[in-house]
């Protein structure tokens, strides 16, 4: 992961240096216009550092999702569909984000059972039942 980051960083820096070299053509190309996404990330909008961080965040999310059992065949397209801010959010706190799973009921059943067994005097989990 570290080496991936390091090699990716140097690649990115190289790419940014090359693309930022003055262009000879007089008319502006489409890429020269400031993009909507970069204005939305207005705090450090469009700065090279921010662009590197965003790409790295996506690489981090990709790795984290694979570690969590997502198939490597699917992960690239999944991360590509995230917006920059969503990718950052996922990179920062993938383990804390709530994962909607649903009405599986195991935990709640345990809670209710323990509550009842506590009242019946069979267990000693919830002091407030006495």
């Amino acid at each position: 992961m570290k080496t991936l980051r390091a090699s990716l960083s140097s690649l990115l820096i190289l790419a940014l240096v090359i693309t930022s070299l003055p262009v000879v053509a007089a008319t502006p190309a489409a890429s020269e216009l400031m993009s909507t996404q970069s204005v939305l990330a207005s705090d450090q909008a469009g700065s090279d550092r921010q662009r590197i961080n965003d790409v790295l965040a996506r690489a981090d999310v990709q790795q984290a999702l694979v570690n969590q059992g997502v198939s490597p065949a699917d992960v690239q397209e999944r991360v590509a569909a995230l917006s920059d801010s969503e990718a950052r959010q996922m990179a920062d706190r993938l383990d804390e984000l709530p994962a909607g799973a649903g009405v599986v009921g195991a935990l709640f059943a345990v809670f209710v059972i323990l509550l009842i067994t506590d009242i019946l005097g069979l267990t000693d989990v919830y002091p407030f039942t006495r």
């Binding site: 400031m34 999702l65 969590q68 699917d74 569909a81």
Partner: protein, 307 residues
């Protein structure tokens, strides 16, 4: 040992208090909400898919996508959002999956009033609830499809229940634990009811990054029609028009953006660049305005002014 027992007792009291407060609180709706929306509504045409195992995320997505005419199999959606290690699906990926199906996901304002207003406008809402207590969270996605104000109930497609009716109070207690998170799904060109301008712009921009500017063009148009004073909206429309090969119309949009917010340097810069390309007058003035404002556009504007 005593200390431990004391802590346990404290925790018990705390939990009891939580349970009681969760049951007792009745959510208060604004008077204006009660006046503006119908007393009851139910979007019966929203299809139902029962969840299997931990797949409430994919099931909820399938329901709202199909409601917009986009058929997606649960298996395909599982591969797009499910995270095996977490045994569930995460919020950003739920929104991202909608984009991959050519539709736009708009996060709603986090209030019960907003939720009911969406339902009143025939927009089913995917909601994230914590069915259990914060201590043992049971996160769950469901689709809100209706409400009944006189009875104070909400109707959900939830888990394995096609029509789950529960009191507004109980629902709000479970919903509040996700900071009342939810989203609606709309096709390009249609805006969701009542979402903030900023969150609409972010939703369309994220969609544009995945599906391309020409697909997003209609949504930007709809946005500036509803919010004609949004400089950022006009700016985004300008970019989409330019990418779609309409530089002349893009100039109009950038000009409107600078009129709505003369401090939006990015709009001045893009206007200057386009006027230069089209060989029209006014480019120098636009670059001067951009160069005078602090921001990431400044250096490029100065470059074009030759200093």
């Amino acid at each position: 040992m005593t200390r431990c027992l004391f802590n346990a007792r404290l925790a018990g009291v705390f939990m009891l208090a939580l349970v009681l407060s969760a049951c007792a609180r009745t959510p208060v709706l604004l008077d204006s909400t009660r006046e503006e929306i119908a007393p009851r509504t139910e979007l019966g045409e929203v299809p139902f898919y029962a969840q299997t195992e931990y797949q409430c995320g994919p099931a909820s997505l399938a329901m709202v996508l199909e409601h917009q005419g986009e058929t997606a199999s649960i298996e395909a959606l599982i591969r797009q959002v499910y995270v095996p290690g977490r045994e569930g699906s995460l919020q950003p990926e739920m929104l991202a999956a909608v984009r991959r199906h050519g539709l736009i996901a708009y996060p709603i304002r986090p209030t019960l009033d907003a939720l009911l207003a969406h339902l009143d406008a025939d927009e089913p809402v995917v909601v994230l609830q914590n069915l259990s207590l914060p201590l043992y969270p049971m996160w769950h996605y469901a689709v809100a499809i209706g409400y009944d104000l006189p009875r104070e109930t909400l109707i959900l497609r939830s888990g394995e229940i096609p029509r789950h009716t529960l009191s507004l109070a109980r629902f709000d207690a479970t919903w509040a634990r996700s900071q009342r998170w939810g989203f609606v799904v709309k096709p390009p060109g249609e805006l969701a009811t009542g979402v903030s301008v900023r969150s609409a712009i972010e939703a369309i921009s994220a969609f544009e990054a995945v599906q391309g500017p020409s697909t997003a063009l209609d949504s930007w148009q709809a946005l500036v029609e509803r919010h004609p004073d949004s400089a950022l909206g006009w700016f985004a429309l300008g970019n989409a028009r330019y990418a779609d090969g309409k530089p002349g119309e893009a100039v109009d949009a950038f000009e409107t953006a600078t009129r709505q917010d003369p401090a939006l340097g990015a709009a001045w810069l893009n206007l200057g660049l386009l006027l230069t390309q089209l060989d029209q007058p006014g480019a120098i003035t636009a670059f001067e305005r951009a160069a005078a404002l602090e921001g990431p556009w400044q250096s490029k504007a100065r470059e074009h002014l030759g200093h």
